[in-house]
Subunit: 219 residues, 2 copies
Amino acid sequence: MVMPPSSGSQGPGRRERKAEETRRRLLEATREQMAEGGPESITIQSITAKADIGQGTFYNYFDSRDAVIDAVIFEVVESLGQRLDALTANMSDAAEIYSYSTRHLMHTAVSDPVWGWLVVRLGIAQQGLLGVLGPRASRDIQIGVDSGRFTIDSVTFASAMTFGSLLTVMQEYLQGHLTEDPSELYAETLLRMVGISPSEAYEIAHRPLPSLPETPTSD
Amino acid sequence: MVMPPSSGSQGPGRRERKAEETRRRLLEATREQMAEGGPESITIQSITAKADIGQGTFYNYFDSRDAVIDAVIFEVVESLGQRLDALTANMSDAAEIYSYSTRHLMHTAVSDPVWGWLVVRLGIAQQGLLGVLGPRASRDIQIGVDSGRFTIDSVTFASAMTFGSLLTVMQEYLQGHLTEDPSELYAETLLRMVGISPSEAYEIAHRPLPSLPETPTSD
């Protein structure tokens, strides 16, 4: 991100707040444009028009169209990670934590248009998902291994399986090859993967899904 | 692929053979360059120099550098699919077929430099893998479901899980986050995924791996 040059005419607090607000409006406009017009509709012009900000000002905040798209994707993924953390913070069964997290992950992925972009930008998405959510998944899987609940030789491996399969399953869903929301099936097979028996994996993956709390850091 | 314009001066059989040979030399040169110099070293100039073919002639066969790379990737994936078909044609246990196929798939992926390109070109790779190997995986998984060996609700889903996780696990391996060849672990967890018990999945995934037959259609 490129910050606007500082100037002495206003207090730094106010200038920073203004810059943050402008950046936020650009991100919000990009997200709205993604949802309304799909991938092809995103141009710097469409974003700045929607945000009511001059096209030149855009470049004070982002280097390119791709940069603002990646910032939106990062924010969406990071926000989901925080909400999953909040949801599962006080839960004790690793299998239940892993099931709820992966169900919410898949359900958000197949129902939020921003995630459609993750499929379009798949190469970056793999890195982004592993970077942002990978450590959280590894942490949760490690708890299952330490408690003897999961039997899987490599936590890194299980985490990689979780995110790689997410994107391909999403892709099949968005292309209409899977007709039902695959969230429960996704969690169920991941539970089998870490060593939970098929009958218990089914039962856990079909428990009522608690709602995600709102994002801790946004309005 | 762009074919050279036809001309009446030679018989079509000979002209076609010559064109096929030139195309083959360009593909072979691209593959060698991938193996020797890695992703960044591939240029149209490096390919044509290695194949001893004029740079202008290149464009009679491929539209761009990316087109020849994708053609090499397609050929490698298709060839592996044919070899796996040949290997498993006379096997009867779906779990064993799935295990051998996924072990060879992962092992080839982590040991052949062309597959490194699949990770670099990940978005296309997902489509390519699902397109070329997806129907084969679905066929094999369906056999397991029909025989009652596998318990998985959606064959399309299981196939998507298989290839999505392949690429992410490969990526982690190539980046050094996984230190051991993950082929057996990959097959073992996929067997668990389709409903084989952990103890049997371990045993099947660690059987001696029969070698792949040579590619049926190439030398």
